[in-house]
């Protein structure tokens, strides 16, 4: 663009010089009063002026075209920037919808499980031992322990177990718990129907409370080759203290 601009300028200057020479000649012929000379010089002058006029118009067109071109480029770049910004904001709900649709990232169907409890049958030939473990965070003042050290269940059978928690302090304490299943591969077969985890539980001063866990082991546990020799599963709960007004980072499935 720059080159053509310069070239146009040079052309105009050249033509201007030429035309001014021609006009000088025309004036000269007027002065000398030679009609023949006048006619040719008039023609030449007019041609020159025309050319000059065309060159000027061309250049102005070019410059306006390039200005328009610049403007459209800038508009496109701005639009692309805004689009990128919009996509980064839209990404969060879009990703969530995608996960719910395809079940990636573990947001698996929860509705299924309730039907499964109804339809499953216990696998009678294999007894599984569930051991219980209880922990508290170091700053947590509750006394938390399981009421039974182990329970023998069958896969596909719903079972009940109890923990107990005592608040020995003089102030009400709010706790929230999470759990863990060992061995790791058994964790996916461990389904809790109802328990006391992931929600705040409040204990008044000197209060003792029983906390049940109602769960079952998926009957597909017996079909898993990795768990062929696994007969003991350890369920471990840990209680943390939740301070009043403190916003805990709850897992995604609780936020819904």
């Amino acid at each position: 663009m720059g080159n053509s601009f310069l070239r146009n300028l040079q052309t105009i200057r050249y033509l201007h010089n030429k035309c001014s020479r021609k006009s000088y000649l025309f004036n000269h012929t007027l002065f000398t009063n030679s009609t023949g000379g006048q006619k040719t010089s008039v023609n030449k002058l007019s041609k020159c002026l025309n050319l000059q006029h065309i060159a000027v118009r061309c250049m102005s067109q070019n410059s306006s075209r390039s200005a328009k071109h610049n403007q459209s480029v800038i508009i496109y770049i701005c639009a692309a920037g805004i689009f990128m910004l919009g996509m980064s904001y839209a990404g969060v709900p879009l990703y969530r919808m995608f996960c719910q649709a395809t079940g990636l990232g573990g947001k698996a169907v929860q509705g299924h499980d309730i039907d499964k409890v109804e339809k499953m049958t216990a696998v009678k030939d294999r007894i599984l031992k569930i051991r219980f473990n209880a922990d508290v965070a170091s700053s947590m003042r509750w006394n938390f322990k399981p009421l039974q050290s182990e329970v023998k269940v069958l896969a596909g059978e719903t079972a009940l177990a109890f923990y107990t928690a005592t608040n020995p302090s003089d102030k009400p304490v709010i706790g929230i718990s999470t759990y863990n299943v060992v061995p790791f591969e058994a964790g996916q077969y461990f389904n809790k129907i109802q328990c006391f985890c992931f929600e705040e539980q409040r204990l008044n001063p000197h209060e003792k409370v029983d906390m049940p866990v109602f769960f079952y082991i998926d009957p597909e546990f017996v079909d898993d080759p990795k768990l062929e020799h696994v007969d003991t599963i350890i369920l471990s709960y840990t209680f943390f203290e939740a301070k009043e007004g403190m916003k805990l980072p709850v897992p995604n499935f609780m936020a819904a």
């Binding site: 309730i114 009421l147 389904n191 809790k192 109802q194 992931f198 079952y216 897992p251």
Partner: protein, 86 residues
Amino acid sequence: MSTQMTFHGKRTVKPPDKGSFPLDHEGECKDFMVKFMKCLRINGQENTKCREESKDYLHCRMERNLMAKEDWKKLGYHKVENQETT
């Protein structure tokens, strides 16, 4: 607390299906709980033999509004079985 990002394959920390039990602050169902624990102790910690007692405990909770009322079948208690497993 483990979040969705730390999964090796299927997630193992799942929310409970029916949510959280409200706390039994008054100990209303404590007797049923004690009966269940006794039964476990007698029967060598076998859950299969104490299903009646666990059913009683859950029934107590349902009556006192400490648990959402639910069909027994949906909780895995099928009546069409022999005495041992009901």
